[in-house]
Structure formats: C-alpha cells, structure tokens
C-alpha cells in the first residue's frame, strides 16, 4: 500500500456491511460444519486403520468392527475416539476427585484466561507506547528496535523461570510472560499504522498549528487502528500461548499449563484428558480472538476496509 493509500477515499464496502448479523450466523454455521467434518474424518480414519471398535457412540458393537489396516498413530492411545474425549469432560478429573474434568478445566481456563487477558492488555499498551515513541524519535527507533526484535528470539521457556524469581509465583508473573509475547506485533504494526497517514494530512495539521498530540490523537492513531486490530488478533492468540507456556516451567497451579503437565503424565491411563485440555486451550484462544474481532467491528464501524485482516 502506498503512503497515500490509507487516506485516499476508495469506493469499498465498509467492514461491518460485509460482516452483518446474517453473515456472522453463516460464519458460526460453517465453523460447526467444519468441526463435524473433522470429527467424521477423524473417526473415518480410525474405522479404516485404528483399533478394533467394540462400541460406537456408547452403543456396543457385536461382533466388534476390526479395521482392515492398522496404523500406530490412529490407535485409541494416540487418537482417542471423539466421543471418549467429549465424555471425559463429564467424568471425574482424576480418581477420587469430587469434580468433573469439565469443571476442573473450566476453572483452569478462567485462571489462565485472566493471565492472558491482563497480559494482553499490558502488552498492547506497552507495545503501542513503544510504537508512539519510535514514530516520534528516529534515534530511539534505530537504537531500540534491534532489542525489541531480539527480545522475541529469546525462548520464553528460558525467561519464564527468571520472571518468577523476580515477580513471585503468582499469576501476575504469568501475565508478564503473556505480555512479553503480546507487545511485539503491536509495536511493529503500530509503527506501520502510525506512519500510514498521507503526508498531506500531516501538512494540513501543520497548517492548523496542531501540536504533536493533536496529530497523534486526531490523525495518526485513527489511521493506525486497522493495523493495530490486525496485531491485536495475532496478540490475542499469542497471549493465551504465553499464559499457558508461562505456567509450565514456573509450576504455577490452577491453570491450563499445569493441567497439560499433569495430564501429560497420565497420558497412558487417560489420553482423552490431555486431548480435552488441548481443546479447552484452543477454545480459550478462539474466545479471545473473537472478542478482539468483535471490538474491531464496533470500533471500525463505517470505515472502508483499508487493511485486510
């Protein structure tokens, strides 16, 4: 896109028009259909090359179905039946545990979700602040951007234990890890977005004798929003990854990271529990992504779709 592109008027439909209520319903429907398709393929593969089927959807099969082929990756240990994973949500999380797996994982998702949301917010604010600084100071940009890039190449597994030492074994240190993964896309997109206005738009502001704050608030920031939302969507999922990964080496209890570690050790006796945990983690990421998308639709209402998400 040219520098002028963001502000030059274009005849395009506004973002919201393309994503009206009917279109949203269609989106949900196609998601459900694709999910069902995946389940069918999953079970189809097991039907052809999995372990013998003694039951189907809880109904006994007599005689059992013996698949013609046998592929290791498709046996019940490596790829449990979809209904077994679903059923695991209703069974006790561990032997003698009064709570079901569903309840335990919901609690864990809320715990991790809190770290992710707080981390996302902190990371987004910090990332945007950095972008604002860089846009106003070429010197600082040149001096600090290499460090910003380097920060993302350091494995979070190495950093997380140090953060816990500094901040303590709290969910806040997990949020910090999450923020660490969140801020980078926001900074990069922020620099791009804040510098996207037409140079003549900045000259107009100059002719109104608008100070840097006026330029930032009235021109740069609104122009950057489509770019920022693209970054927020990347960051929303990254913040969940950051929170889960942040929990694992720190041994913080109560979240999905800990649940993954625990059910990993119990994989032989109950592989469906780990699969269920993975599903919940994915759902948490989708939930945060959807929340950002919804905010984007509301905030960018009435605009032309200047940036492809």
């Amino acid at each position: 896109m040219t520098a002028a592109g963001a502000l030059l008027p274009r005849r395009r439909r506004p973002a919201l028009e393309m994503h009206g209520a009917a279109s949203a319903a269609r989106g949900v429907l196609s998601f459900v259909v694709v999910t069902l398709l995946i389940a069918v393929v999953w079970e189809g593969a097991k039907w052809i090359a999995g372990d013998p089927w003694r039951e189907i959807l809880g109904m006994p099969l007599n005689p059992p179905h013996v698949p013609p082929f046998n592929v290791l990756q498709l046996n019940d240990q490596n790829l449990p039946h979809v209904w077994d994973i679903v059923a695991a949500f209703g069974r006790p999380a561990t032997r003698n545990n009064p709570f079901t797996l569903g309840a335990v994982l919901t609690d864990a998702a809320l715990f991790t979700g809190r770290s992710a949301v707080v981390g996302f917010a902190a990371g987004a604010i910090f990332g945007l602040a950095l972008a604002v600084v860089f846009v106003h100071s070429r010197l600082l940009e040149r001096a600090l951007v290499p460090y910003v890039v380097a920060s993302q190449t350091v494995p979070i597994i190495a950093l997380a234990p140090m953060l816990v030492l500094w901040v303590g074994t709290e969910w806040t240190s997990v949020a910090l890890v999450s923020a660490y993964l969140t801020f980078f896309p926001v900074t990069i997109a922020g620099i791009r977005g804040l510098t996207s206005p037409d140079p003549r738009a900045l000259e107009l502001m100059r002719s109104y004798a608008g100070g840097w704050w006026g330029v930032l608030w009235k021109v740069r920031f609104p122009a950057a929003l489509p770019y920022l939302f693209t970054a927020f969507k990347i960051s929303a999922t990254a913040s969940v990854v950051g929170a889960i990964v942040g929990e694992e080496p720190t041994g913080i209890r109560g979240g999905l990271g800990r649940a993954i570690l625990e059910f990993n050790t119990q994989y032989i006796s109950g592989p469906e529990k780990l699969w269920a945990t993975v599903l919940v983690s994915a759902a948490l990421g989708i939930a945060l992504f959807a929340a950002v998308r919804l905010a984007e639709l509301l905030v960018l209402r009435g605009r032309v779709a200047a940036v492809e998400a």
Partner: protein, 304 residues
Amino acid sequence: MSARLPADVGSVGVSGASPVASAGSSASGADRQIVAVRGVQKRFSIGGDTTLALEEVDLRVEAGEFVSLIGPSGCGKSTLLRIIGDLTAPSAGSVEVNGKPAHRARHDRDYGIVFQAPVLFDWRTIDSNVQLPLEIVGTPRRERAQRASEMLALVELSDFRRHHPWQLSGGMQQRAAIARALVLEPRLLLMDEPFGALDEMTRERMNDELLRIWERTGTTVIFVTHSIPEAVFLSSRVVIMSPRPGRITRIIPIDLPRPRDDATRETPRYFELVTEVREALRGGELRQPAQGKAADEAAGRLGT
C-alpha cells in the same frame, strides 16, 4: 450580485469569529497587503546535486485578491505556495502573511489549505471532517457544529453531512475540503491545483462555485493551476512563472467584470486574455518538462 469590493463584502464566515482567527485581522490601510514575498529563493539538494527551484521571487498580494500562479511543471509554483504557507522554508528571502512572518501566521491559523487530493479522513463523516480544525483549536462542541453546518451550507453539502468521504464523488469531496479549509475563517486560502484531478465539466462547475464562495467570504486566494482557462476565469491577477529556476516572468491583471459566469467564458475579452496568458507562458524560456517535473516532485517530498 454587484461587482465586488474586497473589504466590504458581508461574509458568512465572519459570524462567531474565533479569537485566534480574528487576531490581527483589523482592516486598516496597511493591512490591505496580505502577502509579501521578498527575494525568495529555494534550493533543493538531491543526492549531492543542488537544484535552484525558485530564484528571487517577489510577490505582493492584497486583501481580497484572487491570484493564480501558473507555469509549466517544475516551475516551482507549488513550492512557492508551500513557502507562503510555511510548509517549507525558503533558502533565502522572507515571506510575510498578514504583516507577520509566515511561521507566526501559521501559528495564528491565518490561512487554510486545499490540496489536489481532498485528504479527507475516512473514519470521519463529512461534518466531522469539517469540524476537525475547530477541534484542534479547541472550539466548544456546539459552536463547532454550528460553524461546520454554515460551511457545509456554503459549499452546498448540507445533505451529505452524515456521509463518509468515500461515499461522495471527487468534486463533492473537494468541496468538503474547501469547507474544512474555510472553517477557521482564514484571511488567506492557499489552493494547490485543487481541481486538477477533476474532469473538465466538473472543474468548470467547481470554478463557478469557488468564485461564489470567494465572493461571499471575502477571503484572499492564492491558487496554483496548470489550466490557463481556469486561471483566467477565476483570477484578479495571473502570475506567470518560468521553468527552473522558477521565477515570475509576468503578472497579467484580469479585467473581466464580476460576477463571472458561463457567459464570461464566451466573451471576446476572455479569449483575448487566455491567448495573452498562453503566449506569456510560451514566450521566453526553453521547456524542459519531464526533467522539471521529476525534480519538482522530489522537491515537494523534501520540503515536507
């Protein structure tokens, strides 16, 4: 409408003048000279090569005048406009606007600018685009709405105030840009080929409208254009500029009676003046358009 005298025209814009905009706008005799360009030079350095874009330009513009700058590509007319508007600094010489240095005048918001592209903000409605300069100045919300609606009425866009820029035609967008430039009631309106991107029919209609707006607001206009008929139709004086190094070769007063309309475009005097401007442009300098244009564009970028 009678022939217009600059100082005595009742203006829509003057109602509710903001303290900032009215600073230094007392119309005493000395203030009749609104722009004074003295010995302005502009040099650009591009990759070690220094180009002289403007050489010793002197220009006086009186309050209420409509002055066009015309010349081949690369003659520095846009650069001169940008220097007057303090968007770029001259290499030598001085510019006074309203008796103040250009820099001071810019901070006092003494002028409005219209570019060739409307540069409206997509995320704002037309109404809110026009209000933007008032927001910067800190005008209270209610007065903002009032002034914006006056300006939109002036450019006949009242029915489109809730539209977004991309829902309007090019001509309408440019009218909105003019309304925005006028909303601070500037004493000087700087226009850089504002209708250059429009088709001929729309351009003529916009010319009619611009004259009507100019007559109603009493603003002084400096207007950069490529179009000889446009310059003659609009102006009180046409300033002819030569290609690089740009300087003023002739100033042709346009004595067509006002108000001007479609009939004006068919009078013999109009054709005479168009011919005179054309010949003045042709006379003298060797033309070097391609090279000049590239340098002019580079110069414009450097000046940002």
